[in-house]
Symmetry: C2
Subunit: 410 residues, 2 copies
């Protein structure tokens, strides 16, 4: 394939018109904003009688995610940039956070873990979950269990744009939050976008969301069955999932072996229809060497990058754009999706070029400070006054001058 063909093959499926969806979402948000709980038709779930479930699988995952995010804590930074000029940086938790966990037919306790654990580690004071209830009005016990473990204040039993609006503006029973996290369908995404642009809401969001995707780079040492199983893991997420294989210098027989495994394993899956849909617009690109593969991968900026390669660890140095990397034959994507410790809330749709996945920092903000001694102000004062003069901000200049005069007893 030529460069233009590769670019064409890797074009992500076009997103539905943002304006059409906004037209639906806008009145929903206004309704919740004005009419609160009545519009939300929700109630908050209290934990007292929530669940007696215990899940060792959740406990193991919780602990690994906690450890990895705990290690991301930073000490305050202090730098004396000039004698007597001390600049510092420290972090503070975002006070109130809203975590959206998709529900309905799907059951996603892993999303509750991936958002709730870092919020807990960061020290956020109020953690509010929102998740659409099941048809009987209840919520998956695994999600309630996670909410318990992370110390959430409540679970808002609602989904869609109305849940996002409740978190952004607050209602009688839902706490207004400072930032909203989590994946969701196009209405959730449009709702998050809308409230993050409304200065009256005063709310941030984690990142833009698009369909999930994987790019697997395999060489002749890769086990065809493992490669196929990773491609299928991604494919089962939905028909709009993107599945890309870059094959490094594989011959016909090796490519066929992967293809054969793909069909054999797909036939055994319960979601075979979804898998077939995703596989049908998956892409295989053949390249000569790892450098060629990495140019394509870095340009595509995959959410998940799987390296089934000889010396895979060394190749990480060449990774410039990706959400999360899975190294070597014993690291399927699913370990990162659930339990290894890394976060699974990752940038999609090429946004790995400028966004990080959810991490401890997503629940903190950095604040800086300056503290000058009298000598410090003497040292830096003339630079400040000269620049203030260039910018014609005379009061800025005088705020320094008046202090220097005071030191000199004038």
């Amino acid at each position: 394939m030529g460069t233009a063909q590769v670019t064409e093959a890797l074009k992500r499926p076009s997103q539905k018109s943002a304006e059409a969806i906004m037209g639906i979402v806008h009145p929903i948000i206004n309704d919740v904003r004005q009419n609160g709980d009545k519009a939300l038709l929700s109630y908050t779930h209290k934990f007292e009688k929530a669940t007696s479930l215990t899940s060792p699988a959740i406990d193991v995952s919780f602990e690994n995610i906690r450890k990895f995010h705990e290690a991301q804590k930073e000490e305050p930074l202090k730098v004396e940039t000039m004698p007597g000029v001390i600049c510092s940086r420290f972090s503070r938790p975002i006070e109130r956070v809203g975590l959206y966990v998709p529900g309905g037919t799907a059951v996603l306790p892993s999303t509750a873990l991936m958002l709730g654990v870092p919020a807990m580690v960061a020290g956020c004071q109020k953690i509010v979950l929102a998740s659409p209830p099941r048809s009987d009005g209840s919520i998956t016990p695994e999600i309630v269990y996670v909410a318990h473990k992370v110390g959430a204040e409540s679970i808002v039993l609602a989904g869609g744009a109305q849940a996002v609006a409740a978190l952004a503006y607050g209602t009688e029973s839902v706490t207004k939050v400072d930032k909203i996290y989590g994946p969701g369908n196009q209405f959730v995404t449009a709702g998050k976008m809308y409230v993050s642009n409304d200065t009256n809401a005063g709310v941030g969001i984690d990142m833009p969301a698009g369909p999930s995707e994987v790019l697997v780079i395999a060489d002749s040492e890769a086990n065809p069955a493992f490669v196929a199983s990773d491609l299928l893991s991604q494919a089962e997420h939905g028909v709009d999932s993107q599945v890309v294989l870059i094959a490094i210098d594989l011959d016909e027989q090796q490519l066929q072996a992967i293809e054969d495994e793909l069909h054999k394993q797909a036939m055994a899956l319960p979601r075979v229809d979804i898998v077939r849909g995703a596989i049908s617009h998956s892409v295989t690109i053949q390249v000569k060497d790892i450098d060629e593969a990495m140019v394509i991968s870095n340009d595509y900026a995959p959410e998940h990058l799987i390296l089934q390669l000889k010396d895979a660890e060394k190749v990480v140095d060449k990774v410039m754009n990706a959400g999360s990397v899975f190294i070597g034959q014993w690291t399927p994507e699913s370990v990162g999706d659930y339990s290894a410790g890394v976060n699974h809330s990752l940038p999609t749709y090429g946004y790995a070029k400028q966004y990080s996945g959810v991490n401890l920092g997503s629940f903190l903000k950095h604040i800086t400070s300056s503290n000058l001694t009298a000598d410090g102000l003497r040292n830096v004062g003339s630079a400040v006054m000269q620049l203030a003069k260039v910018e014609e901000l005379e009061a800025h200049r005088r705020a320094v001058e008046i202090r220097l005069s005071s030191m000199d007893g004038k």
Copy 2:
């Protein structure tokens, strides 16, 4: 004042309707996107014959900002969350960044410094500045000098939404960037918001922008002349600037002393009309003690927080929401605006509750990786498989199972 009165007094001036501005900005962006340079009416400025200016004030500021942002670099993180399960986190520079420097009547080399230096320290490959030219078509030499020093690729001589569109989509002569930074008027802000919501642009922005603001907390030890000079520094930014003073247990005489200084110093300023406008809707709030002051300040979440207090350094522990803090009598805001080393691109309009100011991390993204040994997969595998089962993602479960079977020689 009661709580409700304080809240009312500290209400930020309402922003113009986002929809009205979007109506103007939308066609401009589409025009540039479709017609490139022709619509942009711009050209890029090459550096060869740019300037022979040297500015010691810029050199000093550059070096302090460089030092403070250099110190923000992180080592890669590696955590073994379970035996054989190794999770890592490392950072990569955002490849192409666009820095918007307001111009026209204002001359803002400091903005070029505050955005350009961290981009350079982060190792961004392409740094593109955009700034509206002066009436003779040229650009302020100080900005050209900064562009030189940070290794910028070019300066796009254009402003407003059209400059933002050129950076977001690229034109024949302007490099498309991955993220756009910098302050600007309402059209620049609306343009940044628009392109950050367009998945076809694939571009991020630094943060939402609103009018600049300062909150000064002063006690009886504060020098009235210094307090007044800091309030005036903020006021001269524009009539929509927010200027708030919290006075801790000051008597009538002390308050009057600040008031008198304010008027005396204001009369001497060239921008006296702007200053008067801002001062006219400034607010003074009297409180009993520092705790009461900090509740108000943290709720307001000021862009700039100035502590003119006894033991000001200790009070920093109580700061939960603020862009940047200025500690003690020898630290006027203007040192941070220009030369101390801290960044002056800070969250306004209460967004300090969830956003950090521009820092080194604004020019990087974090990527995680997992690397499991065979034993690692054995250790974590059952948790992964159990959660995949709960979520009914069978291919995820099998991606682990097929590997465990292979280890056991099945």
